[in-house]
């Protein structure tokens, strides 16, 4: 999927709040993990539920399509999870990545609810598998979905079908009629035809705004045009913007997105997991002017790829080139596209379209600064350069053994941090007051807990826990 999605023009004339039949007890806006969890829980509690998925069936599931695991606390081995992962350790891990930028109560609520959520997921037909090859470090903390996130989404949609949830695909919500924190209905475009849908309650679980490049440009300037979006092109954040305009309290930095350095040849949207490129720590990275700009060996890659997303975004044309030699060619997960490969450096530099003199000079300066020492690929080996700026502080080995390989790098946006504020019952607050009938879950509330940084698999935990709460709370309200 390499095209941006357009939003139809709303026909406000058909919005008739307070009039017409109430279509459902609950309308769920969104079709990813959190939306599905909410729909299932509400339907299990007896509600009539309509789920509005903006994508066509083949692309249903939002960014959950691309996910692979669920971070989960447990005191003893649980399903595919080994050993234990105590709630305190989980919370400490969160503090580390967010640098304390989290709502402690909500975070602890999500963490404490995660083992129960795991059991619940299993009952809904979600299947887990042991840690994938190359991800053994996660076997204690993260439960992997058999077949990945799309298989999870499939299981949830089947469960929805069994429970009688009405699923509408290609349904774009254009407007929500909200007065004093109460929603009457939503203006929806269903495959080109618009209608006003009324319901007793609403769960908003339609993600962030990472696929809205115009919005990204507000914070990043024209550079954002060159960003690649790793997930669904349907997360345009228009409902998020409306909720904020209509008085919902915001949370999270409105300018920030989580971006990682990915393969520069990836599709503009929806490239998903395979676009990651793990060669940077073993390489020399130059920008399009042939200049090095940061310590490639600062830390192990999972701890640095997000920083590199930002670094590459700051380079001219938002592109960089990672160059390795034969010594390092098999030290990282295979890339989705083959590397540019040549037997000599000048040839490679030419093929990559880099300036010959500057690039060669950068690599020569780096090579001359490499010192003797023991190289250890899987740990911080302290093999550092001496007398080159910027220094490379680990895994610094000269680029001197043909064949040589080059990859281009670009920033790949994963998600945005801006969201709506919710309380512990997933209810959206408007000007500090709880909404009467609007709940939110998933990426649109993640900023409450993940103020910055990211913890693998935690997005799915937040989505599942808050999705379930939102569904059950909406049911309590609608059943009154």
């Amino acid at each position: 999927m390499s095209k941006a999605i357009k939003t139809p023009k709303p026909d406000y004339s058909i919005m008739t709040p307070g009039q017409g039949p109430v279509l459902a007890d609950l309308i769920v806006i969104g079709g990813g993990n959190a939306a599905l969890c909410a729909a299932i829980c509400a339907a299990e509690a007896g509600l009539s539920v309509t789920l509005l998925e903006r994508a066509p069936r083949v692309y249903r599931g939002g960014n959950s399509r691309h996910t692979r695991n669920f971070r989960c606390a447990h005191d003893a081995p649980l399903g595919v999870l080994v050993d234990e992962y105590a709630e305190d350790e989980f919370y400490d891990d969160l503090l580390l990545v967010t640098k304390g930028n989290t709502d402690e109560a909500l975070a602890k609520q999500v963490i404490a609810s995660s083992p129960e959520a795991y059991e619940w997921m299993t009952k809904q037909g979600v299947m887990f598998q042991p840690s994938l090859s190359g991800t053994l470090s996660l076997s204690r903390t993260n439960a992997f979905f058999l077949g990945g996130g799309k298989a999870l989404v499939n299981a949830y949609f089947q469960r929805c079908e069994a429970l009688g949830v009405r699923v509408v695909y290609q349904a774009t919500v254009l407007d929500m009629h909200i007065e004093q924190g109460r929603c009457d209905g939503a203006l929806v475009d269903v495959d080109g035809r618009q209608e006003y849908m009324r319901a007793k309650s609403f769960v908003v679980a339609c993600g962030g705004f990472e696929s809205n490049k115009e919005w990204l440009q507000e914070a990043w300037g024209p550079a954002a045009k060159n960003f690649l979006i790793r997930g669904t092109p349907y997360n345009r954040g228009e409902i998020l913007k409306q909720l904020l305009e209509k008085g919902a309290d915001s949370i999270g930095d409105p300018t920030q997105c989580h971006a990682v350095a990915i393969d520069g040849r990836s599709p503009e949207y929806d490239g998903g997991i395979v676009t990651r490129l793990d060669c940077v720590p073993f390489s020399v990275v130059v920008n399009k002017d042939g200049k090095r700009f940061y310590d490639e060996g600062e830390d192990v890659w999972p701890k640095r790829y997000a920083i590199w997303g930002r670094l590459v975004a700051q380079q001219p044309d938002q592109v960089a080139y990672s160059i390795i030699d034969n010594k390092s060619s098999e030290l990282f997960m295979p890339s989705v596209f083959p590397a540019t490969q040549c037997d000599s450096l000048p040839e490679l530099i030419d093929k990559l379209g880099l300036p010959a003199e500057e690039t060669l000079a950068s690599i020569e300066a780096f090579n001359n600064a490499c010192a003797d020492g023991e190289f250890k690929a899987t740990e911080l080996d302290g093999l550092a350069t001496n007398g080159v700026t910027p220094a490379k502080t680990n895994w610094a080995r000269p680029i001197d053994t043909p064949p040589y390989f080059g990859y281009s790098l670009r920033p790949g946006v994963t998600f945005t941090y801006l969201g709506v504020n919710v309380d512990s019952s997933a209810r959206v607050t408007f000007d500090g007051h709880e909404s009467e009938n609007v709940w939110a879950a998933g990426e649109i509330v993640a900023g409450n807990i993940l103020g910055q940084g990211y913890l693998a698999g935690f997005g799915m935990t937040i989505g599942t826990v808050f999705g379930r709460i939102a569904g059950m709370e909406a049911a309590n309200y609608a059943n009154q």
């Binding site: 691309h66 299947m127 058999l146």
Partner: protein, 355 residues
């Protein structure tokens, strides 16, 4: 779709290798993660491990209309069939019998005429069961038919085995391979939930059970024939046998299973999305399933119509189908079983040698 060239296989498998979400479905994906690049023997090996369960397709983020356009089940089905066609000689016969129903129709017609002529030229003996066609005549027709295909098949598998770099087998390799085949382990979905063959995103056991019925039904029928052969030659006990004799018990239960299994396999194939298989070979696959169904069903009808005048003509038809089946073994889809065992053995061998 471009599924029949090696470059396309490398492209798709490379996407899989940088994703790996499907590792839990079957051993083809577990094997895939051993490689950083895919040469032709590796692609062949992975293709012959694949059972076309389609779990990976329905879980895939990258199927069309996504530009990565992955369709691993169809890709590997094509490559698998090309392997059979390439290694089992003569390739020209393989190729036509993999794609078309007509060779089967023609062979059956030819054998029907041949056997009718033979049965009416007075070669009949007075042996009770073989009043229509003498036993010796039957044997002289069927024995070469039985042996020649096995020669061709053996040479074909040997050629495949060499091409994927197979070395001397250990008993444990064969044990692992036959164990997997006997339980259809790689059609279990990885955790016993079943496969997605005909049911899109849902997991069912339908195909696994249908295949079990077909495979074990066939083996029972084969056992029945073998036992009868031993009774005939070793114990001088020619047919007919009573209902509670070993040949009859094996034959009837096997025939029922085989008829049911092949009927179900055809039904599931009809329900399934043909774009996820080897599209150009769909007719050949139906022809093979249909042939097996007819062999067992005509056999069962023959048993119940024994002694009537109808039985004579019917026996000729049944035997013509059996002859067609035996002649076509190395060239029909039947060959998949042998290549599958070879691939499973090779996989067990690779894992054993890696320690």
């Amino acid at each position: 779709m471009q599924t029949n060239n090696y470059d396309e296989a490398v492209r798709q498998l490379t996407v899989c290798n940088s994703c790996r979400y499907c590792e839990g479905y079957c051993n083809a994906f577990q094997a895939l993660t051993r490689y950083r690049s895919f040469d032709k023997p590796t692609v062949s090996h992975l293709a012959n491990l694949c059972h076309n369960c389609r779990g990976c397709y329905y879980a895939c983020q990258y199927t069309e209309p996504h530009e990565f356009a992955l369709n691993i089940p169809a890709l590997l089905a094509d490559i698998r069939a090309k392997n059979w066609e390439q290694h089992v000689k003569p390739s020209a016969i393989s190729k036509i019998m993999q794609i078309s129903i007509w060779p089967y129709v023609a062979l059956t017609a030819m054998f029907t005429v041949l056997l009718t002529v033979v049965s009416q030229t007075g070669w009949s003996s007075s042996e009770a069961f073989y009043t229509s066609i003498s036993h010796t005549t039957l044997v002289s027709i069927f024995l070469p038919l039985f042996i020649l295909p096995w020669v061709s098949l053996s040479l074909g598998v040997r050629s495949y085995w060499k091409s994927v770099g197979g070395s001397k087998l250990a008993l444990s390799d064969l044990k692992t391979a036959f164990g997997s085949a006997a339980s259809m382990k790689n059609l279990s979905g990885g955790q016993g939930q079943g496969c997605n063959y005909e049911s899109t995103e849902r997991y069912t056991h339908n195909r696994r059970w249908a295949h079990h019925a077909t495979m074990y039904g066939f083996l029972l029928c084969f056992a029945s024939t073998s036992v009868a052969t031993v009774l005939h030659y070793v114990f001088n006990m020619p047919a007919p046998y009573s209902l509670f004799s070993l040949p009859k018990l094996l034959g009837i239960s096997g025939g029922l299973l085989l008829s049911y299994g092949t009927f179900m396999l055809a039904l599931l194939k009809w329900k399934s999305d043909s774009a996820l298989g080897s599209v150009s070979r769909t007719s050949g696959e139906y022809a093979f399933i249909g042939l097996l169904f007819l062999v067992s069903t005509t056999g069962l009808i023959l048993y119940w119509s024994g002694g009537t005048s109808f039985a004579t003509g019917w026996l000729v038809f049944h035997l013509a189908l059996v002859a067609t089946f035996f002649v076509s073994i190395p060239y029909s889809k039947m060959v998949h079983g042998i290549f599958r065992i070879a691939a499973l053995s090779r996989e067990a061998q690779i894992q054993r040698l890696a320690g």
